[in-house]
């Protein structure tokens, strides 16, 4: 095995990072720089494309190719690039407002097309760059600058949407859970097709502590459950599990009256999206929230197919010649 020649530092650009001190984005940036050399990425072969928002400044801080595009549209830029340059490794960096509000349409269509790239959604449930309005993932009742009497919008669930949009790889991780985040980013990079990773990211200025239940060392064991392929859902340091009651999950105590075999068994490879969807509906505080890979299945990628059609056409009809194109059909000559 070849040891990585590049180091995390090689992926750092010369730009000063301008996120607020204490922002969860710093950790995600650090883990990304760590992951890239480990997966054998090159600086020149990697492209980060973002939309608009705090998270979308990310490309400026990476010593790779990058595009800080327009609000919500990063998936469309990335689709155009990857369709024409399948040799590149493309990452889309987005946020909850960028991907799910203004860019909801592109997000959905990128997933169903299964373009071979990775989307990292920094979910902080707030609009940070515009200084604190509620976002599409903010809970009902959220008091923000634009909702002084509390938000009345029912929130979207990013994982549910991804699964419903035919995503082939869906995962969730947490900004400060370094080990888990690194492993999840690597899994996303390894998947052929669109990989979607939701990262719980803390905005310590406008929505501080929103994910504390999943991050705090006193509560996280009880309020998250780590998904592992081929294993049953056990959490709270092995004291609790998830069992299916009909189509509904329920929390059960592992006090000797419940057999491991009765617990919900995670299979990220099954073709049907029902299990991934069911897991996505498990929300705090009724359930521990699953982190890890919800779904990882194979389907032909858009970039392979669009290039495949070009290759097939060239093989069947030969490389196009302008003179043949112009002279096709009925012509006449004027002497």
């Amino acid at each position: 095995m070849n040891l990585p020649v590049l180091k995390a530092k090689d992926f750092e650009s010369d730009q000063d990072v301008r996120w607020c001190p204490g922002c969860g984005d710093y950790s995600i940036l650090a883990q990304m720089k760590k992951v890239l050399p480990e997966i054998g990425a090159t600086q020149e072969g990697t492209v980060f494309i973002s939309g608009i928002g705090c998270s979308s400044r990310f490309p400026y801080y990476m010593n790779t190719y990058g595009m800080h595009s327009i609000h919500g549209r990063a998936p469309a830029f990335a689709t155009g690039l990857k369709s024409t340059r399948p040799d590149l490794s493309v990452w889309v960096i987005t946020g909850d407002g960028d991907a799910l509000s203004i860019g909801g349409n592109h997000f959905m269509h990128l997933l169903r097309r299964n373009v071979d790239l990775n989307i990292i959604l920094f979910n902080n449930s707030i609009y940070g760059l515009t200084k604190g309005q509620y976002s599409p993932t903010s809970k009902v009742g959220s008091v923000t600058k634009s909702t002084p009497r509390g938000s009345i919008d029912h929130p979207l669930n990013p994982i549910s949407i991804a699964v419903a949009a035919e995503a082939t790889f869906v995962a969730r991780s947490i900004d400060t859970n370094i080990k888990h985040l690194v492993a999840t980013l690597k899994r996303a990079a390894a998947h052929k097709g669109t990989s979607f990773v939701e990262v719980y990211q803390n905005c310590n200025v406008f929505n501080d502590g929103t994910w504390d239940y999943a991050k705090n060392k006193d509560t996280k064991a009880d309020s998250t459950v780590e998904l592992e392929h081929g294993k049953s859902l056990v959490f709270s340091n092995g004291t609790k599990g998830i069992r299916l009651n009909g189509f509904t999950p329920e929390v059960v105590k592992l006090d000797g009256n419940v057999a491991q075999d009765d617990l919900l068994f995670h299979d990220e490879k099954i073709e049907s999206p029902q299990l991934a969807f069911l897991l996505s509906r498990m929300r705090h505080p009724e359930f521990p929230e699953p982190i890890g890979v919800f779904r990882d299945v194979q389907r032909a990628t858009y970039d392979d197919m669009i290039n495949g059609q070009v290759d097939d056409a060239k093989a069947e009809k030969q490389e196009g010649e302008l003179a043949d194109l112009f002279a096709g059909g009925e012509t006449w000559t004027v002497e």
Partner: protein, 626 residues
Amino acid sequence: MISVSDQFPPTNKPSESVTGVTVRLAGDSGDGMQLLGTQLTNTSALSGNDVATFPDFPAEIRAPIGTRAGVSGFQVRFSSEDIFTPGDGLDALICMNPAALVTNLVDLKKTGILIVNSDNFGKKDLKLAKLEQSPLEDGTIDGYRTIKVPMTSLTRTAVEDTGLSTKLSDRCKNFFAMGLVFWLYGRDVEPTLRFIDAKFGKKPEIAEANRLALKAGWAYGETTEAFASTYQVPAAKLPPGKYRNVMGNEALAWGLIAAAKLSGKELFLGSYPITPASDILHELSKHKNFGVRTFQAEDEIAAVCSAIGAAFGGSMAITTSSGPGIALKGEGMGLGMILELPMLIIDVQRGGPSTGLPTKTEQSDLLMAMHGRNGEAPIPVIAARSPADCFQTAIEAWQVATRYMTPVMILSDGYIANGAEPWRIPNVADLPKIKIEHPGPREDGAAFEPYTRDENLARPWAIPGTKGLMHRVGGLEKKDGSGEVSYDPDNHEHMVKTRAKKVQMAADFIDPVEVFGKESGTLVISWGGTYGSCHTAVERSIAQGIEVGHAHIRWINPFPRNLGEVIARYDRVLVPELNNGQLSLLLKNEFLVDAIGLNKIKGKPFSVGEIMKKIYEVSVAPVGAK
């Protein structure tokens, strides 16, 4: 085997030679009028006539049968002279039903021939057209030479032996009408017979029925006493060369393919279906063997953004749309402009605002093309002047885009997009090579500066995958040279002015405007699809002794360098436009010229007569009395 001339014998009736004929075929949108028109056009072009067409159809795919809303028309002019428009008045009008008659009769010359399908003038047909009385009997057609032909029943009889149902038999009546028209103008039926074989080859009974209907129509003309003579239109004297017929959208697609090939690029189109631009997407998607990748995006915004992504990756990137879609692409175009990446944005204009008149033509997106982006965001704008000119326009636009590293807007319109004319097929070796250089890999470890500029103020097109040239582009203002995000006030002003200057510099590359006609008096300035009407109007006005010249501009941003001098030579400027005065506004702003507008906003092109009338009005007025 029976030869074509046995089945379609040349006429024994007297034949009158005429220089040109304008025919309109009008019927229900399900009557096959567009097909008939296309056949007549192609056949005429193949026999050496110059041709110009004007298809006119409703926005609804199948409006209720027999209603005025459902009338579909196709106008074709074929001539032994070089022509630039599909003609003003009609020499012949073929109407398949009462609705077609009452909506089209106004355009028939008093000397013209009216041919109607008299089987379709029953009570029910009249009611559908909202008529109390038959226009064949109430005086409407008095004064016109009318030939009533029971086309439906004659077609049924002609195709009886094929055993087709009445419904299918009735569908052949457009071929009966075609046979009659072809006979009347001595057109060659062979191309149409080939067309029938190609199109209906898999359904032999339908192919046979259409052939029989065509033959019956031809024979009817020869037999009936209603027609005393036929007409011949000799071949036109076009410049020597090999020709074919092209429609505007087709020529544009081929121009794009040619530009890609000439610049050694593969083509990426991001597009969302919209009338009247979709045919460019259809045409390009057929030619994947040229390295063409077409992406039907989820919306107009994704279409332009995907194109920018492809441009960043080093492809020849294009997005196509019409007005409503271009409005949605505004933010994307602004990004493409500040990224300083080459790409083409194509607007096939239609009647606006909003959904407007989707299938009708208009020139009302000019100011949107010029200014429809937030901030100071000028981009070059070129407008094609005719269907065949779309080819050259695409190549020129890509030359400017790559030379100055900027998105370029191409304007076409519904009239050009769907209209057809003969196109002299270029010799591929004579087409310009388009040189594009991407900076190569760098090993020295120094930071790459993506906003350094060459003599054209263009920045290097460094593409991902190139070692050592890693850089970040984006919508935030960039420091000139290094490309770092910069909020420096002086740098921002400098960058705004640099990007604007680059567009102005393109005037060094484009051709100066040429003037046709007189060097003083009235100057007609036109742009886009009104070229043909304006040219012909000026030509005829000069023949009538009026002092008038014509300057047609293709590049509107920047204007040709000599346009100011040209304008200064004339006493007055007349600007005919299919909008409320958009080019006039730009000319007034740029040259402080008191341009007189001739503005038509009816979803229809100018007639030559309308422009001649205005030329006469303004030119006979004393100088200064504008």
